[in-house]
């Protein structure tokens, strides 16, 4: 495995999807792996069903807690449409893991706007390595519908220079006993799903392999 010196990870989605917990686990893992880490999020008004974004930066020494436009190496979008909202942040040739689950924004639900039906096409048309994951289905199959965030974290782990065990240990420590088994299973399946997509992806991205 190639040890990367630093990186910028963007997690985005909708309030209530477990993005903050996923960010916390991810940041703890990076800290345990020996990196300096900064993670930035916004609370309050933004969490009432609004768009939510979390910036995670790691490296030898991290100053700014915010990722600059054009420099997010890896992004996980917890919701399909949200993957398009943060386009300017993505590095060209960056990796995007997209949950194909849709959550209708209120203007769409009320019939004032339309949910685009070509989100993945728009993404793959750009110089990006796109990895769609049906996190909800995978989580349900793992035995816990609410563990979609763990599926996505698993998928993300396949692209990071950190050992899988570190993730599994941290998830184990963070999740109540009752949900532990299903969450770990969700994580494993997510990691697997990302690896499969990766080999199929024509544009390719050999990072971490």
């Amino acid at each position: 495995m190639l040890m990367k010196q630093s990186g910028n990870i963007l997690l985005c989605g909708v309030g209530g999807q477990g993005i903050l917990l996923a960010s916390e686990v991810l940041s703890s893992v990076l800290l345990k792996a020996g990196y300096d880490v900064k993670q930035s999020e916004v609370h309050g008004m933004a969490q009432r069903g609004g768009s939510v974004v979390s910036h995670i930066r790691y490296g030898g020494k991290v100053y700014s807690p915010l990722i600059e436009p054009g420099t997010a190496d890896t992004t996980v979008s917890f919701e399909l449409l949200e993957a398009l909202r943060y386009l300017p942040f993505y590095r060209r040739d960056g990796t995007i893991i997209v949950n194909t689950q849709k959550i209708l924004p209120s203007p769409v639900a009320s019939g004032m706007a339309t949910y685009p039906d070509d989100v993945l096409d728009q993404l793959t048309a750009l110089e990006l390595s796109v990895h769609p994951v049906n996190a909800f289905e995978i989580a349900a199959a793992a035995g816990e519908k609410r563990a979609a965030n763990m599926v996505l974290l698993g998928a993300l782990s396949a692209f990071l220079p950190v050992k899988e065990e570190l993730f599994l240990d941290t998830v184990e420590g963070r999740v109540p006993e009752k949900f532990r088994k299903a969450n770990l299973e969700a994580f494993r399946r997510g990691r697997e799903a990302a690896s499969i997509k990766k080999t199929r992806n024509v544009k390719g991205n050999d990072e971490g392999s």
Binding site: L31, S40, M45, V62, Y63, P69, P88, A109, S110
Partner: protein
């Protein structure tokens, strides 16, 4: 479980978590706060440590007065708040600068540049200057911890309250923090009468005013040697003076440059600044919001660049810092996609939605307030016409009523949340009663402080630590101040709400309507088993869109083409139909009476198909 001790341990903590840890390590004994983004989690975390008394106060003024009282009693004390909270606490702060302290006293204020969750942006550094108290400003979580501990030492050494300024990107950014042992104050707790110091009668205050000026001089000398102020020498051409999170952006963008980093932003180390400026070619001042450092540094006669380049509005970030200093724009960035917005919304099942729908039907002018319910101002409810600050809606309604006289009767209604009512609404209500007003005030009792994440308030019946306490009776309180007409409604019952609202706003006397239904995000509401599920009976929806006017996230519009409409057996002109998302529906039932065609029913009940 209470946290009792901390080991030498590396942890990933947010600025707010680090501040709580620091308060514990500094031996703080009493801490009081009113929740407000981005400051809330400081007290929430501190309440979990052993040996610290914590409480949610009704507002920031009370919180600071409680902390000041604890300091008078000789213990280390803390008050925390958001920037607008400091406006409320400003009154005691300005005089506490005169009295000084016994036990160390710190006020943490968290600014919200860019207004992520605020009604304005303010630069709290101006308060340090105006109130004549020292202010420390950390850049990240690790510094937040170190600075709060030094703030207590400064407070006791110089006999002054100390301000510690955080911001969204310090409070809500996680970084690596190392835990340390605890320390204790050298002050002995107990009662000590010191009238010349604590009783600010003019004769005493005049003496303290002179002492205050002398103290600022001593603090100015101290700032020259304070370890939080430091020069990092590098390239001497393009050099920076900066503080707080702006320092991190400068280091990110210009790692080679010489930087004077100010950890103490008031009073400023004049000699240190002059020396730095004298050794470099050009000085750039990078700071968020107001040109605070710039004004005071220019007043020292030092030439510099600052707000002529760096924006004074909103947050900074590395990109803005780079562009404003170098003039170079980033290239090769993906264009933003044109996609639907995702604005925040009231939750499915939110009791506020029901009452605001009823209010929207009145066609009245709604003087609003601060809380989740401010979202009722957005479409489709569009049921709020003002939002200024905590408590303002009540005074605004009374003022409008007095301005318009009989013309205004039945056309204005004030709406305020329960926690907000305790914070600043009571005095406005007393004003209406006292001055023969006729306004109607709707108080939204959802048992909690919703927006900031469910902190208990005086009517919740429990304290910050979950211990049971008296629940203030809002109705009895309103009657006690002289409101004769106090009615309680179920906000989910839109029909009843509409009737009661109409009767009360047309009444030429003060009245209060209390809406009573718990926030759906409270744990007991989330866990409830008797939740109903509402469904749209297939084929009964005519596509009239009446239910969509609630703006409930669970009600989804499914568009139909003419062909699809025919296939579904609808009229060809029907443009679509509503459906209820079973995952999101909370079973509040607000939507059912809005459907004239009785298409919305409880699942398993009333369906004839």
């Amino acid at each position: 479980m209470k946290k009792t001790r901390s080991d030498k341990e590396k942890m990933l903590l947010s600025g707010n978590e680090a501040l709580a840890l620091a308060a514990f390590e500094a031996g703080v004994k009493v801490a009081s706060a009113y929740p407000g983004t981005p400051s809330t989690e400081i007290l929430e975390n501190l309440s979990r440590y052993e040996g610290v008394y914590t409480e949610w106060a009704p507002n920031e003024k009370v919180a600071f007065e409680v902390a000041l009282g604890a300091s008078f009693a000789g213990v280390r004390a803390l008050a925390t708040m958001k920037h607008v909270g400091l406006n409320v606490a400003a009154d005691p702060l300005f005089t506490a600068a005169y009295t000084g302290v016994r036990g160390g006293l710190v006020l943490i204020v968290a600014d919200d540049p860019d207004m992520h969750s605020s009604q304005n942006e303010q630069d709290s550094r101006n308060y340090a200057f105006a109130a004549k108290v020292p202010m420390l400003e950390p850049s990240d979580a690790a510094e937040a911890k170190d600075f709060l501990k030094s703030a207590y030492r400064i407070s006791e050494e110089f006999d002054t309250p100390v301000l510690l300024k955080s911001s969204t990107r310090v409070s809500h950014v996680k970084g690596v923090v190392t835990t340390d042992g605890t320390e204790t104050s050298s002050v002995t707790p107990g009662i000590e009468k010191m009238p010349e110091k604590f009783v600010m009668l003019p004769a005493n205050a005049r003496k303290r005013r002179i002492e205050l000026a002398a103290r600022m001089e001593r603090l100015r000398d101290f700032s020259e040697t304070y370890s939080g102020n430091r020069t990092e020498w590098g390239d001497r051409k393009r050099c920076f003076i900066t503080s707080g999170v702006s320092y991190l952006y400068v280091k990110e963008v210009f790692p080679e440059a010489s930087v004077l980093k100010l950890g103490m932003v008031w009073p400023l180390p004049g000699k240190m600044i002059k020396e730095f400026a004298g050794k470099v070619e050009e000085v750039f001042i990078v700071e968020e919001l107001d040109p605070f450092l710039e004004l005071h540094i220019r007043a020292m006669g030092i030439a510099c660049r600052g707000k002529d380049l760096v924006p004074a509005i909103g947050e900074l970030n590395p990109t803005i810092v780079r562009q404003s200093i170098t003039g170079k724009k980033a290239e090769g960035i993906f264009e933003p996609a044109a996609i639907p917005m995702r604005p925040p919304n009231l939750c499915p099942g939110c009791p506020h939605r029901g009452i605001f729908y009823a209010i929207s039907k009145l066609g009245a002018f709604v003087t609003g307030d601060i809380g989740c319910y401010t979202l009722a101002a957005l479409k489709p409810l569009s049921a709020m016409d003002t939002c200024v600050c905590m408590g303002a809606g009540i005074g605004n309604a009374h003022g409008m009523a007095k301005a318009l006289g009989k013309e205004g009767l039945g056309k204005i209604v004030a709406v305020i949340g329960d926690s907000t009512f305790f914070h600043s609404g009571i005095t406005g209500l007393i004003d209406i009663v006292f001055n023969r007003g006729d306004s109607t005030v709707v108080i939204l009792d959802n048992r909690t402080t919703g927006m900031t994440g469910h902190q208990p308030h005086p009517a919740s019946g429990m304290t910050i630590t979950g211990d049971p306490t008296v629940a203030v009776d809002i109705g009895a309180l309103c009657r006690a101040v002289g409101v004769k007409h106090v009615r309680t409604v179920n906000p989910h019952d839109i029909v009843e709400c509409g009737k009661v609202l109409k009767e009360e706003i047309e009444r030429p006397e003060p009245s209060v309507i209390i809406t009573k239904a718990p926030c759906v995000l409270l744990p007991e509401m989330k866990k409830r088993k008797d939740k109903k599920l509402y469904v749209v009976v297939s084929g009964k929806c005519t596509g009239c869109r009446s239910c969509l006017k609630l703006g409930c996230p669970a009600i989804e519009w499914v568009p139909l083409t003419e062909e699809e409409a025919k296939q579904k057996g609808c009229k060809a002109k029907q443009k679509g139909y509503s459906q209820i998302n079973a995952v999101l529906c909370d079973g509040c039932g607000q939507c059912a009476p809005l459907c004239k065609f009785k298409a919305i029913v409880v699942e398993g009940e009333g369906s004839d198909e």
